[in-house]
């Protein structure tokens, strides 16, 4: 009896050791190192929509670079593994109860997080948003593109490219508010060109592979499609997503300039790209939070980061800028 219970106890300790040892090694910490030995740093939680969306990796780089430059900031990059509103809220709430120094979040659903963000503010934790806003909340600032406006730009670029006539298919993902706003912008712009007909609006559920599938089946289904418009960068995140598209027949206008998008642009597979301030999401958020902590509030709550319209002509200059920001 006693032997059995001690065996169980040993095994439970062993299990926890396994789990914690496993991730301790994985985190690169060879042994216990609770808390920094150096003077206290400001701990900021930067929360993207999910860990598996590649665009946000640049935000992480930007945030970490800014933190390194400032020297007194520690960045905690956390999110649910894949887009799950409830799990994102859970993480946000855990930072409130764990007394973090600042939060910058890209909200999957801003309205859903409004109450929680307000609680954080009331508890004295500064909160900003980036990329996707929670406009009804008490968040101190939002840094990102004006989704409606950038959606409009996408639509207008399409009209110009197609000379006002043709069938277009739109790609979006229905789970996020900011994407919905961009979609609305596209639709508003296209409504002003009677010759342009939207044949279908696709939901690819934040899955780049599904995007490739849809482009393939969509091209087969609409052989005379004049253009693909995408409010997110999924078609240009991989080399193969646009394989089915014939550039002489169908144009592609897409959000995001993350690699290999620029190469695709050069090769002529894509005609227009809209770039966001990817590094800025991270670095600007860190800077904002740090300023707020030191008592400086931004002049206006909405900080429009602006978009870069990139075409074959301007791609080289754009890439130079990019390399500078990536520290290469």
């Amino acid at each position: 009896m006693i032997r059995r219970s001690s065996a169980f106890l040993l095994l439970s300790i062993f299990t926890v050791a396994c789990g914690s040892g496993g991730f301790g090694v994985a985190c690169g910490t060879a042994g216990p190192a609770p808390g920094p030995a150096t003077p206290a740093k400001l701990r900021f939680a930067i929360i993207p929509k999910a860990l598996d969306i590649p665009v946000f990796n640049y935000a992480k780089l930007g945030a970490e670079r800014a933190a390194a430059e400032f020297g007194d900031v520690e960045v905690l990059w956390s999110a649910p593994v894949s887009a799950d509103q409830l799990k994102q809220k859970e993480i946000l709430e855990s930072y409130i109860t764990q007394r973090i120094d600042g939060i910058a979040i890209s909200a999957l659903n801003g309205d859903f997080l409004t109450e929680t963000i307000n609680r954080a503010i009331d508890a004295g934790i500064p909160v900003t948003t980036w990329d996707s806003d929670a406009p009804k909340s008490k968040r101190i600032a939002f840094y990102g593109v004006d989704d409606l406006a950038s959606g409009r730009i996408l639509g207008e670029q399409a009209i110009t490219l197609l000379n006002g006539t043709g069938k277009v298919a739109v790609i979006s993902s229905f789970g996020a508010t900011n994407l919905q706003n961009r979609l609305n912008g596209v639709k508003a712009a296209l409504a002003r060109a009677p010759g342009i007909q939207i044949v279908e609006i696709y939901d690819i559920q934040e899955d780049a592979i599904r995007c490739a599938e849809i482009i393939a089946t969509g091209t087969r289904r609409y052989p005379d499609l004049a253009a693909w418009i995408s409010v997110g960068g999924w078609p240009v995140f991989t080399r193969n997503a646009l394989a089915a598209v014939d550039p002489s027949k169908t144009k592609v206008i897409s959000f995001d300039t993350i690699s290999p998008a620029l190469d695709l642009l050069r090769e002529g597979k894509v005609q227009v790209l809209l770039g966001q301030k990817y590094f800025g999401w991270g670095s600007e958020s860190v800077r904002l939070l740090r300023d707020i902590t030191k008592g400086q509030r931004p002049a206006s709550a909405i900080i429009d980061s602006g978009v870069d319209v990139v075409t074959r002509e301007t791609v080289d200059a754009y890439e130079q800028q990019w390399k500078k920001m990536a520290g290469q």
């Binding site: 219970s5 169980f8 914690s20 994985a26 609770p34 593994v81 993480i91 007394r99």
Partner: protein, 321 residues
């Protein structure tokens, strides 16, 4: 049954305590700051989020002990939540009738599962896989991609049954856990569940009503999942068709960590609840460690494997080879 169960539950408690102690130590703050992890607010938070898994894990444990498996709890949570949300927000029903309807929808899904498993004799894995798809699909059809803002109609300061909203989920979870722990240990029905899971042929030959007990087990599991769905919608204020996607694996993992053997005949309801707390603590503590949220899935996998291996070794040692 009793002696083995007690030992196994003890080890789950030990793992939970060891985990909490580990994070308490690892996340120890520099002097002057409050401990981020060891405070009452954080504990309530962990309970609040784990309870949704926990309520469904009670049902999962019962089903697994009976020798079955259920892949549909996540979808049933969503369906129940969506039905409640729709009736409450769009059709302006009262909260109680909406909740009742939501639970009823989940129970209906459970009835479909039980017919498929008991009458049509499909393997439970396949049957519940199908029901998962149907249920999730129904949820999407009802909502058409939109979501129901339940919190707007509930209003701020909503206190379900007079309690702070954050407490509702844990209270329901513990209530359900106690009810089912009693059913499993003090009632003939519970013994029948263990018997069927341990040796279905012998149960048949012993005169146990196998069809009836199996059906009840799947209906109970679905009822619990739908209760979780209703609680989720009321507490979080939002009903959406894609809620609880993928939760079934965490729910089953919790039951397994709590002592349920997928071979059937062994397990514990209390253990399953402890299992959800173990994973809840993990989800809560990881974001505090830089770069650690990436390892959430990895650690869950490691823990489950370690537990199952430990269970097998102890089983072998306890019996004659």
């Amino acid at each position: 049954m009793k002696q083995l169960r007690g030992m196994r539950e003890l080890s789950t408690v030990a793992i939970l305590i060891a985990e909490v102690l580990f994070f308490a130590w690892y996340l120890w703050p520099e002097s002057g700051r409050a401990h981020p992890f060891l405070n009452a607010e954080n504990a309530v938070l962990i309970l609040k989020y784990s309870s949704i898994y926990g309520i469904a894990a009670v049902g999962a444990a019962v089903i697994i002990i009976c020798g079955g498996i259920d892949l549909s709890p996540g979808a049933v949570i969503a369906l129940a939540g969506v039905v409640t949300g729709h009736l409450f927000v769009v059709d302006h029903w009262g909260l109680a009738p909406s909740a009742a309807a939501g639970i009823f929808a989940g129970v209906a899904a459970g009835l479909v599962t039980s017919v498929l498993v008991v009458v049509v004799k499909l393997p439970p894995f396949i049957a519940t896989l199908g029901v998962m798809g149907i249920t999730r699909g129904l949820a999407f059809i009802i909502t058409e991609g939109q979501y129901y803002d339940v919190s707007s109609r509930l209003g701020a300061g909503f206190r379900p049954l007079g309690l702070p909203a954050d407490w509702l989920a844990p209270i329901v979870m513990f209530a359900m856990a106690i009810v089912f722990q009693l059913l499993m240990t003090k009632f003939q029905w519970g013994r029948a569940v263990f018997s069927i899971g341990g040796n279905e042929t012998a149960a048949l030959f012993s005169g146990i009503a196998i069809g009836r007990v199996k059906s009840s087990v799947y209906v109970a599991g679905a009822a619990l999942a739908s209760i979780a769905g209703v609680v989720l919608v009321v507490v979080q204020g939002q009903g959406k068709a894609d809620l609880a996607t993928g939760y079934e694996l965490d729910i089953i993992a919790s039951a397994v960590v709590g002592g349920a053997s997928l071979a059937g005949g062994r397990g514990s309801v209390m253990g399953a609840v402890l299992g959800t707390l173990i994973f809840g603590v993990l989800r809560n503590a990881l974001p505090q460690i830089p770069g650690a949220t990436f390892y959430d899935r990895l650690i869950v996998g490691l823990v489950v494997i370690a537990i199952v291996v430990a269970d097998q070794l102890l089983l072998k040692r306890g019996s004659k080879s």
